[in-house]
Symmetry: C2
Subunit: 549 residues, 2 copies
Amino acid sequence: MLSTMQDVPLTVTRILVHGTQVHGRSTVTTWTGGEPPLRRTFRETGTRAVRLANALRDELGVERGDRVATLMWNNVEHMEAYLAIPSMGAVLHTLNLRLPEDQLCWIVNHAADRVVLVNGTLLPLLAPLLPRLGTVEHLVVVGPGDLSLLEGARPAVHAYEELIADRPTGYDWPELDEREAAAMCYTSGTTGDPKGVVFSHRSVYLHSLQVVSAESMGLTNRDTSLPVVPMFHVNAWGVPHAAFMAGINLLLPDRFLQPAPLAEMIASERPTHAAAVPTIWQGLLGELTARPRDVSSLKQVTIGGSACPPALMKAFDEQLGVRLVHAWGMTETSPLGTIAHPPAGATGEEEWQYRVTQGRFPASVEARLIGPDGSQMPWDGRSAGELEVRGPWIAAAYYGGAGQEPLRPEDKFSPDGWLRTGDVGVISEDGFLTLTDRAKDVIKSGGEWISSVDLENHLMAHPDVAEAAVVAVPDERWGERPLATVVLREGATAGYPELRAFLAERVARWQVPERWAVVPAVPKTSVGKFDKKVIRKSYAEGELDVTRL
Amino acid sequence: MLSTMQDVPLTVTRILVHGTQVHGRSTVTTWTGGEPPLRRTFRETGTRAVRLANALRDELGVERGDRVATLMWNNVEHMEAYLAIPSMGAVLHTLNLRLPEDQLCWIVNHAADRVVLVNGTLLPLLAPLLPRLGTVEHLVVVGPGDLSLLEGARPAVHAYEELIADRPTGYDWPELDEREAAAMCYTSGTTGDPKGVVFSHRSVYLHSLQVVSAESMGLTNRDTSLPVVPMFHVNAWGVPHAAFMAGINLLLPDRFLQPAPLAEMIASERPTHAAAVPTIWQGLLGELTARPRDVSSLKQVTIGGSACPPALMKAFDEQLGVRLVHAWGMTETSPLGTIAHPPAGATGEEEWQYRVTQGRFPASVEARLIGPDGSQMPWDGRSAGELEVRGPWIAAAYYGGAGQEPLRPEDKFSPDGWLRTGDVGVISEDGFLTLTDRAKDVIKSGGEWISSVDLENHLMAHPDVAEAAVVAVPDERWGERPLATVVLREGATAGYPELRAFLAERVARWQVPERWAVVPAVPKTSVGKFDKKVIRKSYAEGELDVTRL
């Protein structure tokens, strides 16, 4: 039996029109680093977005489904692109300005971007790549920049303000199917080519509704949010579109991401919310310890991207009275997967036990743990498995390129369509996720899983251990067993038996490694993570001096 | 271009599974009026819902699309029905136990309900109607009741607890299309047959997401909500399904809706939120003034159904420290249409100006005002029009009956598919709706609209006027003009010229009535509203002693 409800699609267009009309007085403030900040109302911003859509269509010939890329900082013009491009039926492709040149070129060509909106300050990055970007027909330069860098460039060059000036302030928006592409974002995995996740109007809309729910970020038009997380990083975790949905004022840092200007903009603009990765908060804590500012306006801070050291969360609590709230997600999950608000009644140490988890799933993110034997693991806080998720804002595949079928690699998608996150963890009886390892690093020993991260954390708590990396090595009897490699501090006295005994007091007996090696340093990747591939290879090639206990 | 997102339907099934699993420790507490309250966790409630679904399918033969009715108070078993019936693909049909017998019978027959779940305490109401309910095959009696009333009844009779005992706690849920019917509710208009609104899984899910958003009710698992509004009244404004979506604890009053037990349950169970019509709060205020209790747990109270007298809101603020928040909606809007949280920075008198409006629209409710000449009116806080709305939880039609086409009466739905609310009002530049009249009562004078309610309110502020009703009467020059009928207080001295001058100081000159009549009383409908049809008829038939000024 069918309902009698209206069949109205969930679209970014609705978010644009609603924010402009109902929340026209909310503001987008862009930090300028010296000049007074640039402040525009949602009415002005939304109207400029409409002008941009007209310009893209009438002047640049952008059509439905075309990819329009941005190479931009977090600023109001980027917000205008966030609204205009999806609403006109084109696809907003945010480019990560920190990627290596080769990857950036590969991504632009794979997406077949026809237009790139670029901040003038980023021309030195983009200009040398232009000869390799075959599909780009138009460059739109936003803000001041050294245009001489573009002399002789093949794409047509437009100045943003001139392009949108005098365009109509109305647009006959197309009737979109909510499953059409609205935006795309490539993940830069450590192996293989980057992979494109294509968000739909439906997924952006539903995700925005979740972001503004009280159980997630819970923001309203009485809030001001500072997304330090870049707008090219999974749509700044959904904050910009959520802002236009609920009238949340935005404070955008542009390129001023260093601790000092961040402290300054918080003290002067008084945001109630901010979102960023742990490194940013670490830097800000240092800055505020050295040169105190008033950051008490921050009621809640969303922290994600990687696990936050509990010491950092505690320091923000105790020194600044600012609550860091852990969240977990990935490009493939739009990204909101979990958020760690403790349940009612949890206080003191119990509250902390919840706060350091990755958090709880919202209704739209269905989760299961797949254990070592491929079966579902119970939610008991102890049984580990790889996290798989399903839901309306979770990826089912990667973009295959124009005219190509979507890609569904087996290690990323289960046969019944769930996303394999590559993260291993446990879920408590009340739905809190704790990630313990990456699936590729977990040690599969005799049908059970041992978390390499868990062993490392315990080892690094020993006063003589500077660093420790644990990897799986082949074992005839158990399939795999852990190998512990440790970097000792200067003057360390502990030998292997003492370290082994130290571990045995802290983890189950069968998890304690038999194989040990002292190394001068743990090999690291370019972004500073332990490079376990290299350790495994050294072991396989007999380059490590391994002691068996 | 299509997205690469998963195509996962938005369903009540997901709400049921999520609430049971992730929020298993949240509770549903049912007031019992004397006995200790009945407390069940979401895990228990959700598991019992699964048992109920098995029983309905295996024992009663309920199939996909079948209508299963409830004639029940707000209690945990009703919550179980809310979850089980839609999840199994059947349609939850909540029956209004306050309707006249004839309407109740008409509705059950029109919906062709196959099963009725009925509270034992309501058997005296239902039993006499059974011979007229042709489609009902099964009665499921919930809780104690006088079963002798059902002797000789045609439908098979089942006891709820026996029926669901020993049923499986798993269910192979059907894969539903999110546009399928989940629930239905009939409106009892003052004219014509009742009209059935059929909610979809999609509309229930999206509406639940809106209810839990910070800009609407903003509830989480740290809240306890007391929906006094009946679960047969537009799904208790969406609170029960929202509760299972976000783990909101529920306090359900069962049949104990009088001021004394309500005060008692608030004081003892300490809910943080409640929802009810103004009459309930008026009664509660009286009770609390006479016999104070601690109701300070209430952080926010949603008030709707009809406009709330500002004096009542102020009394709750000042005497009890409890904030009543105005909301507007109707059965056709699921019902959340607007909610009146003042914008950032509004304080004092300005804040009150916002609080007494109907409130602001969420992104999923698109609004327009259609003026006297059929054109759209601006949002300037002054230009009145009939409110029309559009969105994914707004009705497009009424249920036509089994095998019948949906009904789309012209006075309820515009040619382009928007819902005509029948309410006339203005919208401010920042999206706040203020309703001024019902469309059928507004006076269409010379291409402008005059609000009858506005004139009445001004007149009733005059010390000599006990009551005033203003209606439209035909006028050769202006089309329509207002006729003011007034009931004077004993000892009143004011004559027509004085009343006219009093009005002229308060409204635009062209809105002041020329036609006046003193009447002994204003005719009223059965629910106590002014019966303007009767006044217009009296005027047309020359029964009123009208003075022209």
